[in-house]
């Protein structure tokens, strides 16, 4: 699986669970923690389990981690859990996706960069939607979230291009 597919499948939590800053921040941080834990559990197993056995192991660990996290949310943060809907459960899919697409890359650095970037984008989107929703009703709804996401990504790309360009000018 390649990165565009990963990005496409990650849209569901990104658009669905970013109505408020609290919602976005909790789902983003839960995803971050659970995916890191999942990766940590898989690291020693990956060499021993290849092919279908490895995928079974990945599935089992993702299911167990997400179930336990959900039970903890129910027990200690029930009101928060109610605002999150089905998205805490969906983190299992994120765990599998990250394992599938980035599991083979050696070292933690590239994986962490993607994860932290994704979490930051999620929180930024949540903040934008909460700020705008009081004035622009569209921002609170799903289509508005998609438009905003496009806008945020365009801004990030613009900033990166600018920086790349200035760096080129700086070091001819």
């Amino acid at each position: 699986m390649n990165k565009p597919t990963l990005a496409a499948l990650s849209l569901a939590p990104l658009l669905g669970a970013s109505q408020t800053l609290v919602q976005a921040a909790s789902i983003a941080s839960l995803t971050l923690v659970l995916v890191i834990l999942h990766r940590a559990c898989m690291t020693p197993l990956r060499a021993r389990l290849t092919g279908i056995a490895g995928e079974c192991a990945s599935l089992l660990i993702a299911a167990a981690l997400v179930t336990c996290a959900n039970l903890a949310l129910l027990a200690w943060a029930l009101p928060l859990h109610q605002t999150l809907g089905i998205y805490p459960e969906l983190i299992a899919v994120q765990c599998l996706l990250f394992e599938y697409s980035l599991g083979r890359t050696a070292g933690w650095r590239p994986a962490l960069t993607v994860l932290v970037g994704f979490a930051a984008l999620h929180i930024a989107l949540g903040a934008c939607r909460e700020l705008l929703a009081s004035g622009v009703r569209l921002a609170g709804l799903m289509p508005g979230a998609l438009l905003l996401l496009g806008l945020v990504l365009a801004l990030i790309n613009l900033a990166r291009n600018r920086r790349a360009a200035s760096r080129r000018e700086g070091n001819p």
Partner: protein, 200 residues
């Protein structure tokens, strides 16, 4: 062989850990759910108006199917042993699905507060009934069968006295009729519910 063993071991381990964790958190989850239910349900009653635990005191509901809605439960709130209010849990059909309402009614048959527990109405239009402290729901406060004639329970365009939520006339009608049903039911049951208690 070695691989199968490892996957089997992993299955047992993850399953065991999950079950143990579920067992450990179960009492805490039950407690949290009861607390949350009590907090949302009792938000329709000012704390100065009761000193019992109303959710522990359900009332019997003979013939709970009403004209436009259905009653699911009723609870008695008492202050110093005397009934101060009754909270009715009612369900009616909205535009997109069932709407569940809590309607608190005082001894005199007046609405004290109304709250939407569950709804599936159109986002941005009908779902405004569920907004916290919805001004539209606030319009019912203080109304009773005594101070509001039966034909006034409708939208202004149906010759009633209530505004409608913009773009959500079906939702608005459903809620108005459910509140009227609840008041009617309270008045019919009040003699039994308040029997043996002196009036003010």
């Amino acid at each position: 062989m070695n691989r199968t063993l490892l996957v089997g071991l992993l299955t047992a381990l993850t399953l065991g850990a999950t079950l143990a964790w579920q067992h450990a958190t179960a009492p805490r989850i039950a407690q949290a759910q009861a607390q949350l239910q009590a907090r949302t349900w009792l938000s329709v009653l000012p704390t100065s108006r009761y000193d019992n635990q109303p959710l522990q005191q359900p009332l019997a509901l003979p013939q709970p199917a009403l004209e436009h809605s259905r009653l699911l439960a009723a609870y008695r709130a008492t202050l110093q042993g005397r009934t101060s209010a009754v909270v009715l849990h009612s369900q009616t059909q909205g535009y997109e699905g069932p709407i569940q309402l809590l309607i608190a009614i005082d001894r005199a048959g007046r609405v004290m507060a109304t709250k939407v527990l569950e709804q599936h109405e159109t986002p941005g239009l009908g779902d405004k009934i569920a907004a916290p402290d919805s001004p539209w729901l606030g319009a019912f406060t203080g109304l009773s069968q005594g101070n509001t004639p039966a034909q006034a329970w409708g939208l202004k365009r149906d010759n009633g006295q209530f505004d409608q939520l913009a773009g959500a006339s079906v939702t608005s009608r459903a809620v108005i009729h459910a509140v009227q049903d609840a008041l009617r039911y309270f008045d019919s049951q009040a003699p039994q519910w308040l029997a043996g208690e002196p009036d003010e």
